[in-house]
């Protein structure tokens, strides 16, 4: 086994609401290998999005450790996290989050703009990304001129334009009809086949069926970790300690 793309140990996230602490995520420990396609399921408020924000380096844990691609994330500051998001992670949101005033190409280019990529190179990469989601001819359309499915494709193109190792999608089909949702999942599946690690949050079993591994959350805890090859144990004791990965690999 090589270094996992995601390795968390006793990851916790607590929110202080007034005098009360809300434990949104409790002792989350997992290893996800490069190239996996993982779905996260669970009832509303079970901590799925909280978990994804931590995995995506948008948020910092209250306790526990997170190693992304072998790098300890827990101690990094906001700007360093921004750099990691830019290089390694692509996000897809339920509500697309496209910039309304910018056309498809400009939206897709955005991560490259912050990477300081030259204009010509940006355009080339954005075109390629749009092409790979099947929207080569929609580059100059504004989001308002696209259908929901097309907007989500643009958002996916934006997520992959930097060729990130990890694509995180929070209910990417939540705002789409079943048919379009299936198409979007097929697209994510094809990205996964190209080697990207994909993690998708969903409420629907048909969507989760695209994944090889499904994580179930309830009340902030991971309660089940099922893969197509059988149910994994979810207790931390069976996972190697961080730092033991190489040792274990031998």
């Amino acid at each position: 086994m090589s270094v996992p793309i995601i390795r968390t140990r006793q990851l916790c996230r607590e929110y202080l609401v007034g005098a009360q602490t809300v434990k949104a995520l409790i002792d989350f420990s997992i290893d996800i290998q490069h190239g996996e396609f993982v779905a996260i399921m669970g009832p509303s408020g079970s901590g799925k999005s909280t978990c994804m924000h931590l995995l995506g380096c948008l948020d910092t844990p209250s306790a526990g450790e997170y190693h992304l691609d072998g790098q300890n994330i827990s101690s990094l500051d906001a700007d360093a996290l921004a750099g990691i998001r830019r290089r390694k992670i692509g996000f897809v949101f339920q509500s697309f989050n496209l910039l309304g005033g910018a056309n498809a190409i400009a939206n897709v280019e955005l991560p490259l703009v912050y990477g300081g990529v030259s204009r010509a190179q940006r355009l080339e990469q954005a075109r390629a990304a749009l092409d790979s989601v099947g929207l080569a001819d929609r580059g100059h359309h504004l989001p308002a001129q696209l259908s929901g499915g097309q907007m989500q494709r643009v958002a996916i193109a934006r997520a992959i334009v930097n060729r990130p190792a990890l694509v995180l999608a929070d209910e990417p089909t939540g705002a789409l009809d079943t048919q379009t949702g299936q198409e979007i999942m097929a697209l994510l599946e094809s990205l996964n086949r190209c080697g990207m690690t994909v993690v998708v949050i969903t409420h629907e079993a048909e969507i989760a069926a695209f994944a090889q591994r499904v994580l179930y959350f309830r009340d902030g805890r991971l309660i089940e970790d099922r893969s197509t090859s059988g149910v994994n144990a979810v207790t931390a004791t069976t996972l190697p300690k961080i730092g033991e990965a190489h040792h274990e690999a031998q």
Binding site: L58, D79, A82, G83, R85, R86, P111, Y114
Partner: protein
């Protein structure tokens, strides 16, 4: 993020809210145009004083016939002529602050050379007058004492006469006719040029005072040794007021004016008058400065206000940008750039309006203005600074947003 990208994104976001942008820039527009107008008017007034003093000659005072009204405007048309050449002599003898007292006759009249003629101003003066007014001889010579005494028909001409009658050729030795009387040109004077508000200093012909009195029509109006005015040169600028007092006292005594009775002459201190006027123009400048300052402040606060609104409206956008890898500084720069772009647009329009106003004032009004590109650069720089200053707080606020909170915002 590169600066050019920040600028592009700023421009596109401003274009998305055209009306709002336009309204926001209003304060800056007014402020910057007031700055431009202020500098233009202030410098214009300054220039006018310098030019006028240069045109008059340094430390010059005039004594004229008639009574003066406040501000130096001439009194009634039928005021009595009482100044004489003897008054001038007496002033030199009795007023220690006066260096030169030159009696003068002046008339406008036709000057003819060959078959060209030109309407000009003819002065009957002595060489001391040329000295008082800082007229330099360019070619030829000034009047000799003998010529001044014996009404010799000689003349010294200004550059405009040379251009108009002699087509630029040297006129020395030629003969011109004034009131049909032939005068020999013995000298020319160095050009003083045109003043910024269009007065030609060089459209002049000088002849000896005695010659003007006995040969020209003007002599019939100033009989005996009466003169139109006496041009005085004080020994220094500090003595101008003392000189004015000395001359007034002396002339009142000579003209036997009883205490309490009005003068039958008036002393005009042009430099002082101009300085008084400059003061009112300075007041105007100050007023403009106040308008500029307040407008710029209000404009800056307007920018800050609209940027705060913009940050709130675009919280999700900020969250998204952060999610795809924008660092805090990128967000900060983006919003500051936007604020700066607003104020620069306002600044550019303000400069255009201010310059337009100045040009209009220069063309249609009797208002001296100076248009300096430097003031436009300064005003634009100032506008940019205001954008940065007032845009910083909202931008900082945006850059400190938590990406998750920002992304969740509806």
């Amino acid at each position: 993020m590169k600066l050019s990208d920040s600028l592009l994104s700023a421009v596109s976001s401003l274009r998305a809210n055209k009306l709002r942008t336009a309204l926001t820039t209003l304060g800056i527009i007014i402020g910057v145009s007031a700055v431009i107008a202020m500098v233009g008017v202030g410098k214009g007034a300054q220039l006018r004083i310098e030019e006028t003093i240069q045109g008059l000659g340094e430390n010059v005072l005039f004594v004229r016939n008639g009574t003066s009204v406040a501000g130096g405007v001439r009194g009634g048309a039928n005021s009595k002529i009482s100044l004489t050449e003897a008054d001038a002599t007496a002033i030199i003898a009795g007023a220690p602050s006066i260096l030169i007292a030159a009696p003068t006759l002046r008339a406008t009249g036709q000057v003819i050379f060959g078959n060209t003629n030109w309407f000009s101003t003819i002065y009957g003066v002595g060489d001391t007058y040329l000295q008082a007014r800082d007229w330099q001889i360019e070619n030829g010579r000034t009047f000799s004492t003998n010529e001044e005494r014996s009404s010799t028909k000689v003349a010294i001409v200004g550059q405009t006469i040379i251009d108009q009658l002699f087509l630029g050729q040297d006129p020395v030795g030629e003969t011109i006719r004034i009131d049909r009387i032939p005068f020999r040109v013995v000298g020319t004077i160095r050009a003083k040029g045109e003043s910024s508000w269009g007065r030609d200093h060089d459209d002049v012909v000088f002849v000896p005072l005695s010659a003007a009195r006995s040969r020209l029509d003007v002599g019939k109006r100033y009989r005996g040794n009466l003169v139109r005015d006496i041009t005085l040169k004080a020994r220094s600028a500090d003595l101008l007021e003392t000189a004015e007092q000395e001359v007034t006292d002396l002339l009142r005594e000579r003209h036997r004016i009883r205490p309490g009775a009005p003068d039958d002459f008036y002393v005009r201190n042009v430099a002082q008058y101009l300085k008084a006027r400059a003061k009112s123009e300075r007041t105007m400048s100050l007023l403009l400065a106040a308008v500029a300052g307040i407008s710029l402040l209000v404009g800056g606060i307007g920018i800050m206000n609209i940027m705060l609104v913009s940050v709130t409206e675009r919280t999700r956008e900020v969250g998204l940008r952060m999610a795809v890898g924008a660092r805090r500084i990128d967000i900060l720069v983006q919003f500051v750039t936007e604020a700066m772009a607003v104020s620069l647009i306002g600044g550019a329009i303000g400069v255009a309006l201010g310059l337009g106003g100045l040009l209009t004032a220069a063309r249609f009004g009797d208002w001296p203005v100076v248009i300096s590109p430097f003031s436009a650069v300064i005003a634009m720089g100032f506008a940019a600074l205001i954008g940065i200053f007032f845009g910083y707080y909202p931008a900082h606020k945006a850059s400190r947003l938590d990406p998750i909170v920002a992304l969740r915002r509806e």
